[in-house]
Amino acid sequence: MKRITDERQEYEIYRIEHVALWTVFWLLVASIPVQLLLFREPVMILGECICVLIVSVFILISFVKRGLWGNYTTPTWKTHLLSGVLTAVIGTSVVAIPLWGKDSFLVSILLSFVVLFPVAFALSYALGVIIKKREKILADETDDPR
């Protein structure tokens, strides 16, 4: 189908879609703990978790392919540490909701934090290394030695 918009219209459509789709994404993410709080049944949020996972993997692969990290941070030790802590805190909070009041609560959230932190930290570090390499490869492709 032939595009009938000019570059300004296309740019404005991108901006509208950008805001709208990120809003949908974060609302979907927020709906996960809210539904857990309301229903306390992890199986109820399976669909939302799958959708968030698919979109997140797509974003990660796209960023890696183009050698991009983000708008406001660079892949440093501080960023990886922050990624690890944030993921562990958020993940542990989500895990804690359906377990609230149960005997295994403390052990479970402690275990969750201990597992999530190194996994998230290692993933962030690995992505940082891969993205830096990819960025160099892409820069070399258009490099002019003269």
């Binding site: 000019d6 570059e7 300004r8 219209q9």
Partner: protein
């Protein structure tokens, strides 16, 4: 910042915003926003506009700074 060079060149070529828009394949609103300094066109669109108005990129899109004008 308003692009007065574009507006002047368009009027000198006796073209309305609509006519210029048709020549370069964009909407009238896009030409209006470029003249008003509210949209930065791509280099391809800049070249199309310059060709349609028989002007160079410098004529239409180069912004002279005060200090450059004073020392140039």
């Amino acid at each position: 910042m308003k692009n007065m060079q574009l507006k002047v060149a368009r009027i000198q070529n006796d073209l309305s915003q609509e006519q210029l828009a048709q020549r370069v394949g964009v909407t009238r609103q896009t030409i209006g926003l470029i003249e008003a300094g509210k949209f930065n066109p791509s280099i391809h669109l800049c070249i199309s506009i310059c060709k349609a108005l028989n002007r160079t990129l410098n004529d239409i899109f180069w912004e002279e700074k005060d200090d450059e004008t004073n020392h140039g």
